[in-house]
């Protein structure tokens, strides 16, 4: 219960009556981060989660299929116009910031939050249009159940907005080569390159 209470108080603390709206989605980054919730995942192995996903080439995979290399994992959807492009930018900044040898030895995995609108073809076209190097990028689609469950495991909050948009947390997760979460970057405001030392510490 203390955690719940703390977050509740936090919510009260940030809940002052500002009449000022966020001008852009980026403003979300200035919100207080509840990294304590997500951070508690550090050290947890995702191995128990063995739902099957389909990658951008139509291959069936599980997250364990990528064991052997560390993985940077995020959940997005391709027709997202607000947070996802920023989240993708964060990922690419991280990709660029990694030393070349580590960059080549890291999976960058995007799991769609909108499986009904992101079939493999769409994911493949998205990867191509964004110039994602498929030597290390993977774009996955799961069932609705698997998507919900992965989001719940990661602490990615999701709300369908009714207009086709999906509000969601914008977090990055670093998994080691055995699927154990080693580092989390919470929210768009956090510096994604904070993950560089954590990646360097793996192997």
């Amino acid at each position: 219960m203390p955690r719940v209470l703390v977050v509740f108080l936090l919510l009260m603390a940030i809940g002052g009556c500002s009449r000022r709206a966020r001008d852009t989605p980026v403003a979300a980054e200035h919100a207080v981060e509840n990294s304590g919730l997500v951070g508690s995942l550090t050290g947890e192995s995702l191995d128990a989660f063995d739902s099957t996903f389909t990658d951008q080439s139509g291959h069936s995979v599980t997250l364990a299929s990528y064991h052997g290399r560390p993985m940077v994992l995020a959940m997005i959807y391709t027709h997202c116009t607000s947070a996802c492009p920023l989240l993708l930018n964060s990922l690419r900044r991280l990709e660029t910031a990694l030393p070349a040898t580590q960059r080549k030895d890291t999976w960058f995995v995007l799991v769609t939050l909108d499986p009904s609108h992101d079939p493999p073809d769409t994911l493949r076209a998205f990867a191509a249009s964004r110039g994602l190097d498929l030597a290390r990028w993977r774009l996955l689609r799961g069932s609705r159940e698997a998507t919900t469950e992965l989001a719940a495991i990661l602490g990615v909050k999701v709300r369908e907005e009714g207009d086709g948009a999906i509000a969601h947390s914008s977090n990055l997760y670093l998994l080691d080569s055995q699927g154990v979460i080693r580092h989390t970057v919470v929210g768009l405001g956090a510096d994604p390159t904070a993950m560089v030392p954590a990646r360097a510490a793996l192997r």
Partner: protein, 279 residues
């Protein structure tokens, strides 16, 4: 994996009458209706100034809801037949270290006086697996809030001062060391017990209540919430109670096991016939 399999089986099993017998807890039909959600719609003008407007009422289609929260005895039956959800077996990915901490052992909830009390210290994953094992599911936030707006005599008691007073009294009480049995608070017009006054309850989409760090207008949403209920309408306890629930849900993670958080089962409206036919 077993959870996913259970869920898939659960979905298949929805129309199958035989599965209803696996859970002793009856479901009652809840007619379609609408309720006024807490959250506000935020309109932003060209100067970036936001105004909070009430959201339109949410239409809730007919469904079925368990008359009572799931009890310790009922959850014991579940872990008996689903060993992967026993306290010592449950994967840490799906439950935190408080999972069933009030129990004495894997198949022993200890204090016999809590047999019929709501099971607590269960994660969202565990609650969901329990429901799926009976071909059921957790209610959504909308479903839960809609039914929870009812008193003993009215489907919408949000303007009933005496009912709201009772909620306020409960909200201000600490959770007792030993929870009362289910069916000990009140039965609302739908025949559903204990929606307030015993424990908080998991909902399928609890995590749609967002605190921060999310895309789109959520920070503004939270501010709108707090302005609307915490300050501007502080005297409106209906909003205050709903705000408390919103804040509580938004503070949860799916692995959390909390000493005053239980759950109850729900099912599509079509399920109702199968269960009530057996009674």
């Amino acid at each position: 994996m077993r959870l996913a399999l259970a869920i898939v089986l659960g979905m298949i099993a929805v129309p199958v009458t035989a599965f209803a017998a696996a859970s002793p807890r009856a479901l009652v039909p809840i007619p379609a209706g609408r309720y006024q959600p807490l959250y506000k719609r935020t309109a932003v003008d060209s100067n970036g100034v936001a105004t909070s407007l009430p959201a339109p009422p949410v239409v809730v289609p007919a469904f079925a809801l368990a008359t009572h929260p799931v009890t310790n005895a009922e959850f014991l039956e579940f872990v008996r037949t689903h060993p992967q959800w026993r306290r010592s077996q449950a994967r840490r990915l799906y439950v935190d270290e408080s999972y069933l901490r009030h129990w004495r052992g894997d198949l022993d909830f200890g204090d016999p006086l809590v047999a019929n009390s709501p099971v607590v210290n269960v994660s969202w994953f565990a609650a969901r697996a329990y429901c799926a094992a009976h071909g059921r599911q957790l209610p959504t936030v909308d479903q839960w809030e809609y039914v929870a707006a009812a008193s003993e005599t009215s489907a919408d008691a949000t303007r009933d001062a005496r009912f709201q007073d009772r909620l306020r009294a409960w909200y201000s009480q600490p959770t007792p060391a030993r929870l009362a049995p289910v069916g000990s608070t009140y039965r609302n017009v739908y025949g559903v017990w204990d929606l307030h006054g015993l424990v908080w309850e998991w909902t399928a989409d609890f995590s749609s209540a967002m605190v921060n760090g999310e895309s789109r207008g959520d920070a503004a949403l939270d501010k709108g919430l707090f302005c609307g209920s915490g300050a501007a309408n502080a005297g409106d306890f209906r909003d205050y109670a709903a705000f408390m629930r919103f804040a509580y849900r938004s503070s949860l993670s799916a692995r959390y096991c909390v000493a005053n958080l239980g759950f109850r089962e729900a099912a599509p409206a079509s399920f109702k016939r199968a269960t009530s036919a057996r009674r």
